[in-house]
Symmetry: C2
Subunit: 184 residues, 2 copies
Amino acid sequence: MDTALDRAVRVFCERGYHATSIGDLTAAMRLATGSVYKAFRDKQAVFLAAFDRYAAVRREQTRSAAARGSNGRERLRHMLLFYVEHSQGIEGRRGCMVVGGTVELAALDPQVRARVNAQIETNEAFIAGLIREGQGDGSIPAHVDVDDTARLMICITQGMRVVGKARLPLDGKRLVGVAMKLLA
Amino acid sequence: MDTALDRAVRVFCERGYHATSIGDLTAAMRLATGSVYKAFRDKQAVFLAAFDRYAAVRREQTRSAAARGSNGRERLRHMLLFYVEHSQGIEGRRGCMVVGGTVELAALDPQVRARVNAQIETNEAFIAGLIREGQGDGSIPAHVDVDDTARLMICITQGMRVVGKARLPLDGKRLVGVAMKLLA
DNA sequence: GATAATAGGGAATGATCGTTCCCGAATAAA
DNA sequence: TTTATTCGGGAACGATCATTCCCTATTATC
């Protein structure tokens, strides 16, 4: 089931919600129409389940990318690098379900809006935690405003997913190098 | 006609492309079905025309916001402030056609992709120009990398539109204050 | 003033959508 | 072996979509 959901994630990432038909979904998930409706109440339920799966995988990846750093500042750097890399190439042009869900459904579907909000706020809290870690271990100056910087970094990561979907190239090292000035 | 197009812009911003039916469009534009199809070849043509109108208005607003500054750095600051303000409240939750077009259609429609790319690149070039102005008038250090900083600022502006559509609050002064560190 | 041309309005149309219903195979129970 | 039950598959359904067609005023032309 998780593997079918992963396939649904790919389709929803690439085509979004409304442009994805049940036919697209059954083809991608290798399930018949009836089987999909036996497992999920309706199309929205498939989307929500796929979103949760996407968010969980993505959260895990982000955390393990950050773990590669040796202090708060370095963990933040690795996290940003991870985001740039995944905003590029094949995965970049496929797109992000958080960004896609927000842009396409935040105004139309309160349930989806609640999920994307939760996901964004979780990410923001994670970033804020890393900044505080850095301030604790001395790698980030104490005068850096935790909340404002975290929110701006969320804007940067979400924005990179947009720019990556538009297929503009993003140079990871260079972009992150500039972004790290925010921790000065 | 421009006023009808402005109304179409509002609908496309809020609902995106696929969730906007011809019925939504005719209701918003105060035009009958036949009249819409007499003025435009098909729904995509309405979207492209609305997008061009949106981009033109937006470009003008951005430029006049920047003009409020007295040197390169201040012009950049006013431009960023303008973006935060418009990413919030009523207009923020309505959404941005560039972001929406990218996320919903960049992977599916080459014509839309070309337009959003052109718009993003125009904005980026405008930002780069402001940075260069600042370096010329001494308000921005010469060691600031123009292209990388401009691209990161594009990510910030696009990301703010995503976060604003998700209805998270954005404090203009504070966020821009942090972002201006990128010009150090 | 009569007629041609145009523009706007809305019903009809075919396609496609999401959803439901029902069938057949496979498994478990008797 | 026979019967009951579950599960995956796909045809059928009503609704809605984008699009076309045609009708009716209104304007311009002669």
